[in-house]
């Protein structure tokens, strides 16, 4: 079964289990939280890659003794955990408006996520309860630091980025254990997934840094202050975007972030290959190459990655 089929089947089954008055809300969720501009886009067509929602299914291809029931539990738990995390993040960011129906829907999402996880692990407590807390703590810490435009290090950046992504791991780790993989293999799964989520996060933070700065919170700016000194990019420079952009470009932090992304994908590709998750390894290797290319172009022409992103729709329309 294709990953997209797994993902859409999981969401369809979940929607079918909801009270009737929430089914429409569920169908509109991706639009409500600002992931798509139009209604009725299947979840499999929302993200640029299949790893975000389908990581356990990709890893399962390397698990010869995995059962279909375990696989579906794992994909269900993972997908609902990610959907919930995006919705919460968008609401905290005020990109999505909270409502009673949305809150009720997310309660159902978390309940179904935890039930799928317990079926998979045969434990009494869902690991999502803990990881959700640590993820929210990392999100709040990041928000405070970035809003105050603190001087931050790349170690701070890596640590908080990983903390925010804690919900991306439990389902795949539980699936690996349930299918009989040993501790070393489970650990390799964890490190491979860490490489993937960090690779995606670092790249995203480069692409969106100017928009993030307009919203008052950008890693690139805080890292620039960490590299070039606290005098660089004063928080009071918010009204001077060109000055901030110039300082960020000169600091070289965008290139460093792209190289961090490249190395994360390389680590993930190596581990996925060792595990036999070949499709995942191939995808991660491709991302590694993309990041190497982008880092080179950003080095040659500062701001390249942001401009490429901002021109993407125009280039699609005009150049095909």
């Amino acid at each position: 079964m294709e990953i997209s089929t797994h993902v859409d089947a999981v969401w369809s089954a979940f929607c079918g289990s909801l009270p009737e008055d929430l089914q429409n809300e569920a169908g509109q969720l991706a639009r409500r939280v600002g992931l798509v501009p139009i209604p009725d886009v299947p979840w499999s067509n929302i993200f640029k890659n299949e790893v975000t929602l389908g990581a356990p299914a990709l890893l399962a291809r390397a698990m010869p003794s995995v059962s279909h029931e375990h696989l579906m539990c794992s994909v269900t738990a993972h997908m609902l955990a990610i959907v919930n995390a995006f919705a919460i993040d968008r609401m905290l960011d005020r990109q999505a408006k909270s409502s009673a129906d949305l809150s009720r829907l997310l309660d159902h999402v978390r309940t179904r996520r935890d039930r799928a996880m317990l079926e998979l692990t045969c434990q009494e407590t869902s690991p999502y309860l803990d990881v959700e807390c640590s993820s929210l703590a990392a999100i709040h810490t990041e928000r405070i630091l970035l809003e105050h435009c603190r001087s931050l290090t790349f170690e701070d950046y890596a640590q908080l980025s990983l903390g925010k992504q804690a919900v991306a791991f439990p389902a795949s780790l539980a699936l690996a254990s349930a299918s009989g993989w040993d501790d070393r293999q489970v650990s390799a799964v964890k490190h491979a997934l860490e490489g993937i989520v960090l690779g995606l996060q670092y790249h995203d933070d480069v692409v969106d840094w100017e928009d993030d700065w307009r919203d008052g919170r950008a890693w690139a700016v805080c890292l620039c202050r960490g590299v070039a000194g606290a005098d660089c990019v004063s928080p009071h420079a918010a009204g001077h975007p060109e000055l901030v952009r110039q300082q960020v470009h000169q600091s070289g932090v965008l290139v460093t972030m792209l190289n961090m992304s490249r190395r994360s994908f390389r680590r993930a590709a190596g581990l996925a290959a060792v595990l036999g998750a070949n499709r995942l390894a191939t995808w991660a290797r491709e991302q590694e190459r993309n990041m190497a290319k982008l880092a080179a172009r950003e080095t040659e022409s500062a701001g390249y990655v942001v401009r490429e992103h901002q021109l993407f729709n125009w280039a699609m329309e005009v150049l095909g």
Binding site: N45, I46, Q201, V207, S301, A302, R307, V318, L319
Partner: protein
């Protein structure tokens, strides 16, 4: 003597794209000129003089950036470019939101 880039419209657009990608000041000016072009005009309306001036300036700048004999954008073309680049409206059939939802 005309090279392919000087006469081929697609080659000219690719050259413009590369020029915008590699030079921040050109990208800023491109966006600024598109933003200066008025958004709503009835199909039957004559292009206002100030809009025509912006269009001519943008066409001239594109010729300078690409070093080509770029034929120039029509009023409807420039409005479409503005809608995509400045107003962030796009063709939903292309699923362009995926580019923003990288993870």
């Amino acid at each position: 003597m005309n090279t392919a880039q000087q006469t081929d419209p697609q080659a000219q657009l690719r050259s413009l794209y590369m020029s915008l990608l590699t030079k921040q000041e050109r990208f800023d000016e491109f966006k600024q000129l598109l933003a200066m072009y008025p958004t709503v005009q009835g199909e039957e309306e004559v292009e206002p003089a100030d809009a025509a001036e912006v269009r001519q300036k943008l066409n001239q700048r594109i010729r300078e950036w690409t070093g080509s004999s770029f034929a120039g954008l029509s009023s409807s073309q420039i409005q479409m470019w503005r809608a995509i680049v400045v107003d962030n409206r796009f063709n939903v059939a292309l699923s362009p939101w995926k580019e923003s939802n990288m993870y």
